[in-house]
C-alpha cells in the first residue's frame, strides 16, 4: 500500500494570536498536529484539513422596514464549499419587516444543517400620512 503523506501548514483563525499549525496526515488520517498554543487550535486544524467550515454573513432585501435590508448569518459554521451556493440562494430571498434578532428566515439552508437567522432587527415602517 502506498503511503500518501500530506503536510499542511495552517494559520489558526480561532483567535487573534494566529498560531502557525502544521498537520501531518497519512491516507486520510491525521498523525500529528503541532504549533497550536491551545486545544481549540487542534480542533480547528482537524476540521480545516478535511472539512473546512465558516459562518456565512449577508444582507437580504427587506420590504416595509425602517431599513431596506436585514442582516443575517448561518446559525453555525457550514462547509466552506457550500457558501457560494448559499449566497446565491439568499440573493433571491426577500423578507418583510418586522424582524427580530434570532428570527429564522430560512430553515436548514441547502441541507447544510444550519438555519439562516436575523442579526439586525428591522421595525415596520410606519407611514405617517
Amino acid at each position: 500500500m502506498s503511503n500518501k503523506r500530506k503536510v499542511v501548514k495552517l494559520t489558526c483563525i480561532v483567535c487573534p494570536i494566529g498560531c502557525e499549525i502544521e498537520v501531518i496526515a497519512e491516507n486520510g488520517n491525521i498523525i500529528s498536529i503541532s504549533g497550536n498554543k491551545c486545544p481549540n487550535g487542534e480542533k480547528y486544524a482537524k476540521e480545516e484539513v478535511f472539512h473546512p467550515k465558516r459562518l456565512a454573513f449577508t444582507v437580504l432585501r427587506c420590504k416595509n422596514g425602517t431599513m431596506p435590508t436585514v442582516a443575517v448569518k448561518t446559525s453555525k459554521p457550514v462547509s466552506k464549499f457550500l457558501i457560494p451556493s448559499i449566497m446565491k440562494y439568499l440573493s433571491n430571498v426577500e423578507v418583510s419587516a418586522p424582524l427580530n434578532v434570532g428570527d429564522v428566515v430560512v430553515q436548514n439552508i441547502l441541507d447544510s444543517g444550519a438555519d439562516v437567522v436575523v442579526t439586525r432587527s428591522v421595525d415596520l415602517l410606519e407611514c405617517n400620512s
Binding site: 483563525i13 444582507v59 431596506p68
Partner: protein
C-alpha cells in the same frame, strides 16, 4: 434651554456605553446625541462576527453587539436625540458647556456640565494618499462601500481593487468576494500586511485574492466611470520603482488607507492635541485639557476591538460622574507619559498615580521577542510579538503607581536580550 449633567456626542458603541455607565453611577440628566437615524455607529454595518468576546464573552456580529447594548440602555432613562448633528461646542466656564445641534426640527441649544465626546473616526480619502489622475465615479472608501452594501443593499461594482490591507480592507475584500464580485487585488504600500493574519487567511486566501505588498496605486484612469488603475512596486523608502508600472482593469476602487479620529469640534475649542494620536491629550479619566470634556472610543484612539471602545466610554463616564459629584477630577500632580523605542503612542498621556489606569498603545513596526519597560515602577512585560495592527492594552494599578515620585513615567519597548 435644556440643562443636562452629561451630554454624550456620538451614539456608537463607546457613546452608548458611556451613557449607560453614567446612569448606573447615578448621574441624573443624561443625553445621547447622534447624527444617524439608528444607534450603534459603525457596528450595524459590520455584519461579520468577531465582536464582543471580551465585553459580552460571546462572538457576536456588529449588529448583534449593538442590539445587546441598546437593550441594556433601554432599561435606563436618558434622552436620545437621533438624526441630530452637533455642529458647535462652546466652553462657557467650568460648569457650563453649550452644545449646538441641528435636526429636522431646527437648531437646538443644549446646556450641560460635562461632555463625553465619542464621535468615532473618519476614513482617509483618495485625496490624502497621493493618487493622481482623473476622478470618475466608482471610487469609494471602505466604509462607504460597506454602508451601501450592508445597510442599503446596493452593490458598488463588480471588478474591485482595494487599496490598503488593514482589517477593514481585508473584511471588505471578503464581503465583495462573497457577493460574487471579482476582487482583482488588495494593494499595500508596506512590506507587511496591515491586518491580522487570521483575516489574511479567512478573507484573502479563502477566495484566492492576491495581496500585493510593497505596491502602490499611482493613478486613476477613466472618464465617467473608473476603468483602470496604474500600480507600481515601491522600494524601502516607498518610492516607485520606474520599470515596475502596470495596470489593473477595474470598475471600482476601494480606499481603505487608515482612520483618523474625528476631532474637528474639539480643535475648534482649542484643546491640546497630541500629534501622535491626532486626538486630544487626556488624563486617566480621559478628560481633555478643558475641564469636564472627555473623549472616548475611536475619537480618542482608533481601536481594533469594540470592547476597548466600550471600556473607554465607561472610563469617560466614570470621569463625568466624578466631575458632577465632586466638582472636578482630582490629582495632586499629573505625571507625563514619555515614550522610548518602538512606540507610536500611548494614551492617556497624563496620569495621576492615585487610581488604576488602563493604557492603550501601538508600536511603530513589527518586532519579535520584545519587552515593554516602565523604569520608574520597575515594571517589565514580555511580548512574543508586537505589530502595529494589534493594540497593546495594559492596566497599571494604584498600588504600583503610588510609589512614583517623579514627574513622568517612561514607557520603552525594545528587544529582549537572550
Amino acid at each position: 434651554m435644556y440643562t443636562y449633567d452629561l451630554i454624550v456626542i456620538g451614539g456608537g458603541a463607546s457613546g452608548i456605553a458611556a451613557a449607560i455607565k453614567a446612569k448606573e453611577l447615578g448621574v441624573k440628566k443624561v443625553a445621547l446625541v447622534d447624527e444617524k437615524s439608528y444607534l450603534g455607529g459603525v457596528l450595524p454595518q459590520c455584519i461579520h462576527s468577531g465582536f464582543g468576546l471580551v465585553y459580552f464573552k460571546e462572538d457576536l456580529t456588529g449588529p448583534e453587539f449593538t442590539e445587546k447594548l441598546v437593550q441594556k440602555a433601554k432599561k435606563l432613562s436618558f434622552d436620545v436625540y437621533s438624526d441630530t448633528f452637533v455642529f458647535k461646542i462652546i466652553y462657557r466656564d467650568y460648569f457650563e458647556k453649550l452644545v449646538y445641534a441641528v435636526s429636522k426640527h431646527g437648531i437646538k441649544k443644549l446646556k450641560t456640565k460635562t461632555i463625553v465626546y465619542s464621535a468615532g473616526c473618519r476614513e482617509r480619502s483618495i485625496y490624502e494618499i497621493g493618487v493622481v489622475g482623473s476622478r470618475p465615479s466608482g471610487i469609494f472608501t471602505a466604509g462607504e462601500a460597506q454602508t451601501l452594501m450592508d445597510i442599503y443593499g446596493i452593490m458598488p461594482g463588480k471588478n474591485i481593487v482595494i487599496v490598503g490591507s488593514g482589517d477593514v480592507g481585508l473584511i471588505m475584500a471578503r464581503r465583495f468576494a462573497l457577493q460574487g464580485a471579482n476582487v482583482k487585488a488588495v494593494i499595500e504600500i508596506m512590506p507587511y500586511p496591515g491586518g491580522l493574519t487570521r483575516n489574511i487567511v479567512q478573507c484573502l486566501n479563502d477566495f484566492n485574492i492576491p495581496l500585493l505588498l510593497s505596491h502602490s496605486v499611482l493613478r486613476v484612469i477613466g472618464k465617467d466611470r473608473i476603468e483602470e488603475v496604474e500600480v507600481c512596486k515601491v522600494d524601502e523608502s516607498k518610492k516607485c520603482i520606474e520599470d515596475s508600472i502596470f495596470r489593473i482593469k477595474c470598475d471600482t476602487l476601494i480606499i481603505s488607507a487608515g482612520l483618523v479620529p474625528r476631532v474637528e469640534l474639539l480643535e475648534d475649542l482649542g484643546i491640546s492635541i497630541d500629534p501622535l494620536t491626532k486626538s486630544a491629550v487626556v488624563n486617566d479619566r480621559l478628560e481633555t485639557s478643558l475641564p469636564g470634556i472627555f473623549v472616548a472610543g475611536n475619537a480618542l484612539v482608533v481601536n481594533d476591538l469594540v470592547d476597548y471602545a466600550v471600556e473607554q466610554g465607561e472610563v469617560a463616564a466614570q470621569g463625568a460622574s466624578e466631575f458632577v459629584f465632586n466638582n472636578g477630577i482630582s490629582a495632586a500632580q499629573w505625571k507625563k507619559i514619555k515614550l522610548n523605542g518602538n512606540i507610536r503612542f500611548f494614551v492617556p498621556q497624563l496620569i495621576s498615580g492615585e487610581r488604576d489606569v488602563i493604557m492603550y498603545g501601538r508600536v511603530i513596526s513589527p518586532e519579535e521577542k520584545v519587552k515593554l519597560e516602565i523604569n520608574e515602577i520597575k515594571k517589565e512585560i514580555s511580548f512574543f510579538r508586537v505589530r502595529p495592527s494589534e493594540m497593546i492594552r495594559l492596566r497599571l494599578n494604584k498600588d504600583e503607581l503610588s510609589s512614583v515620585k517623579t514627574k513622568s513615567l517612561t514607557f520603552s519597548i525594545s528587544k529582549r536580550s537572550e
